[in-house]
């Protein structure tokens, strides 16, 4: 392959490691759980230098300035060329039925996320990735699709982590994934680009304690203390709904089966309780992809699709949602009508 220089959004150089194929998610979760355990062990036993790649705020005194490079992201981008889609028809159609997308041969942006998610996960389970995969909170997701991807297209997929930064409740990081047609044209611009922002709670960036307030980084209503209010403290009044989702107890298992994302917080009340949730919660990307499907054909073949996650959707549960036409596309918001709490909000903007 031609090792073109690859850089993060803020210009840091990345070493490209070419992988033979997209990894399977099942094995990654096992590795992710092991890595999470190792990082958790590091948090519990900070004196063990080799495994202490992450630190909770409480582990260290505030004036502990040493080890400014303790939390660093791997300077590696994974690349997988020659990803074929011709044999995905059945899987694609299962996804489309589950997400209420029209069944056809065009891969919706949410399906492309499912397709490349294992590669992003592979970055997150690397030994030198500083945050634990399990327990990370998906804060927001931004996807730009520049044109239709169809069954049969051969794709090149890239994934890396960047922009490690402070969050009021920990550390957040962007996982960037890109899809290009693998047609030897050396396409400089991706056909699809996704940026998933995750929060690792309780972690701290060295020397950034004072700057961790970052109110703008907190999705509205994310914190349980401010849920139901805007960032200015006003009570949030839900709009008139345009739809209502009745999500059954198996919603997380169904999306887990199609997406491969079998994070235990989505699968059952029991496995979710282990991570501090009273019941299983819906995948954030399931709710965002349902909203994208609800917007429907008017989004066109090229669009920007964003979502900010607030309170998780407990399963089973009912989500009221509203799609609002805007001058350049559609805004959407989903909420719990009884508690007046937002679950997610975002926009679909034709490009």
């Amino acid at each position: 392959m031609t090792a073109e220089p690859l850089r993060t959004t803020d210009g840091a150089a990345l070493r490209v490691e070419t992988q033979p194929s997209l990894p399977g998610l099942g094995g990654l979760y096992a590795r992710g759980a092991a890595a999470s355990g190792r990082i958790a062990a590091g948090r519990a036993l900070p004196s063990l230098p080799i495994i202490g790649t992450g630190r909770t705020a409480s582990d260290r005194p505030a004036d502990h300035a040493a080890g400014g490079d303790l939390l660093t992201l791997p300077d590696v981008a994974y690349r997988v060329p020659g990803v074929t889609t011709a044999d995905l028809a059945r899987h694609l159609h299962e996804y489309q039925r589950l997400l209420h997308e029209p069944v056809g041969d065009v891969l919706p942006a949410g399906y492309l996320h499912v397709l490349v998610f294992p590669l992003a996960t592979a970055v997150m389970v690397r030994g030198d990735f500083p945050l634990p995969l399990l327990g990370m909170v998906h804060l927001r997701n931004v996807v730009e699709l520049r044109g239709p991807v169809r069954l049969g297209d051969v794709l090149e997929v890239r994934a890396w982590a960047e922009n490690l930064r402070a969050h009021r409740r920990g550390v957040q990081v962007d996982l960037v994934t890109e899809i290009r047609p693998d047609d030897a044209k050396g396409n400089p611009d991706p056909l699809w680009r996704g940026v998933s922002t995750y929060l690792a709670k309780g972690f701290e960036l060295p020397g950034s304690r004072s700057s961790t307030s970052g109110a703008g980084e907190v999705p509205r209503g994310y914190d349980s203390a401010t849920a139901g209010t805007t960032s200015r403290g006003e009570t949030w009044l839900p709009p008139l709904p345009t739809g209502r989702w009745a999500l059954g107890p198996g919603t997380g298992r169904a999306y887990g089966a199609v997406s491969g994302d079998r994070n235990p917080i989505h699968l059952s009340a029991l496995s979710a309780k282990a991570f501090g949730f009273p019941r299983a919660i819906a995948h954030g990307m399931y709710t965002a992809a349902r909203a994208l499907a609800d917007v429907g054909h008017v989004r066109g073949d090229a669009y920007r699709w964003t979502v900010e996650f607030a309170k998780p959707v407990l399963l089973p549960g009912t989500v009221d949602m509203a799609i609002t036409p805007e001058t350049d596309g559609f805004a959407y918001v989903g909420w719990n009508a009884r508690r007046h709490r937002q679950h997610f909000s975002g926009a679909v903007t034709p490009l």
Binding site: L240, P241, T242, G243, R244, W245, A246, T324, P325, A337
Partner: protein, 445 residues
């Protein structure tokens, strides 16, 4: 340009002959789970049809076409209308087909038959519809359905066993048909509650519409208006949802059932919403010549019809607001205004459907932005609306409502014209699931 099109459309229609309404026949409508609990769509539609045949002496007659449908329909009823024709004393040489446009099915069937008559393709026809909530088809879950289909397609017993093994206990739960909109997950009542909130329609105004519906329908039954429009069925002689003795106090005592999770106060109750109902209706149409040669009366002619649809999925418009868009187009095309209409038959899916329709027509901004008019479409004289009651009192067996309204409207204009010697017109407006609406104008002859 618009004027030219209008003129040309009007000129084109001058060469088209009239389709006239001869009469109608329906079974009394019954609340779900009561008198018609074990009556199928086909039994009800056949009964309504057979009553029509008896009323107009059509035994052995070959009609041009019979058209109708059911909204909640079992797959075994694929030829519901044809099977009903074969079970009636009409000539078995009467062709038939099923159509379905949710609650507008009956009116759409009437429009279809009238258009064929106007084009000279047929001389006569029956339009109608039937629906039963009591005898509704029940489906199996998607998981069970797919597994059973796979068993059918499997060639070996191993493959069959594998397909059967895929069935999960949860798959065995039957699926009862719901009135939820497939794309939004909101029931029709919830959708209308949103529209009601958007237009700020008060509870009292809705209860007044409901009260008027019951009082008007009761008076119409008392006066014998329905004597030649209804045939008793299964021991029922009148619509059993009718509450002649209801009052504003009684209606006010009911708890809201829709819109309870909205910020606006919930106003829609079981009293100002239509109940689930069983029933069937038919309308007999023909050319003037056919009616004359068969010595049949003529109540009205079908002037024109217009359907509309709205984008409710993206919250742009209310689910049941399509007729609001259809009527201005329909009247403009025929050079009519609201003042030219003597009777407004606005289907009462909910009392607030009538009120949001009127409110939208009276709103200048809405007229400009949504209807493309210079200002408000206009105001309807409330005393002309649903003068013999409508769905809130009679009930609303989805596909049967259109036939009930067409027969009522045709008889109303015929009576008025006979009284005054002046032509009379009725506007029919039926909203339907899927953001659909069908409207039509009938006129005395």
């Amino acid at each position: 340009m618009a004027t030219r099109q209008k003129t040309s459309a009007a000129a084109d229609r001058q060469g088209v002959r009239d389709a006239v309404v001869v009469g109608g026949n329906r079974v009394p409508f019954s609340r779900a789970g009561k008198k018609y609990a074990d009556a199928s769509n086909q039994e009800m539609f056949t009964a309504a049809l057979e009553g029509l045949v008896a009323r107009f002496g059509l035994q052995g007659e070959r009609l041009g076409e019979a058209v109708g449908g059911a909204v909640l329909k079992h797959s075994r009823d694929f030829n519901l209308v044809r099977e009903s024709v074969l079970g009636s004393s009409l000539s078995p040489a009467t062709p038939a087909f099923d159509l379905q446009q949710a609650c507008a099915t009956g009116l759409e069937a009437t429009i279809n038959v009238a258009n064929k008559i106007r084009l000279g393709q047929i001389e006569s026809g029956v339009a109608g519809g039937s629906d039963t909530v009591s005898d509704a088809p029940i489906a199996v879950s998607e998981g069970l359905r797919r597994a059973l289909l796979e068993v059918q397609h499997a060639k070996t017993w191993q493959a069959r066993a594998k397909a059967l093994a895929a069935i999960r206990p949860g798959d065995l739960k039957p699926l009862v048909p719901a009135t939820d909109e497939p794309r939004t997950g909101l029931s029709m009542g919830e959708h209308q509650a949103i529209t009601t909130a958007r237009w700020g329609i008060a509870r009292e105004a809705q209860d007044e519409i409901a009260l008027a519906s019951h009082q008007h329908l009761a008076a119409a039954w008392e006066s014998g208006f329905f004597d030649d429009l209804v045939t008793p069925f299964r021991g029922l002689t009148r619509d059993d949802n009718l509450r002649a003795d209801t009052s504003l106090e009684k209606l006010a005592s009911l708890k809201p059932v829709f819109g309870r999770s909205l910020e606006a106060p919930a106003t829609m109750t079981a009293g100002n919403s239509t109940p689930l109902t069983d029933g069937a209706s038919t309308v007999l149409l023909g050319s003037r010549e056919w009616a004359e040669s068969h010595d049949l009366p003529v109540l009205a002619r079908v002037v024109d019809a217009e359907t509309a649809a709205v984008d409710f999925v993206h919250g742009h418009e209310g689910l049941l607001m399509a007729p609001v868009h259809a009527v201005p187009r329909l009247l403009a095309r025929n050079g009519l205004t609201l003042d030219d209409i003597d009777f407004f038959e606005i289907h009462e899916a909910f009392a607030s459907t009538v009120l949001t329709t009127l409110a939208a027509w009276e709103d200048a901004d809405y007229g400009k932005n949504e209807l493309g008019l210079p200002g408000a479409f206009g105001t309807v004289d409330r005393t002309k609306i649903n003068v013999n009651g409508s769905s809130l009192a009679a009930g609303h067996p989805f596909a049967a409502t259109g036939g009930r309204i067409v027969a009522t409207a045709a008889k109303l204009v015929a009576q008025r014209a006979a009284e005054t010697g002046e032509p009379a017109r009725a506007l029919i407006s039926v909203c339907a699931a899927g953001g659909l609406g069908a409207t039509a104008v009938v006129e005395s002859v």
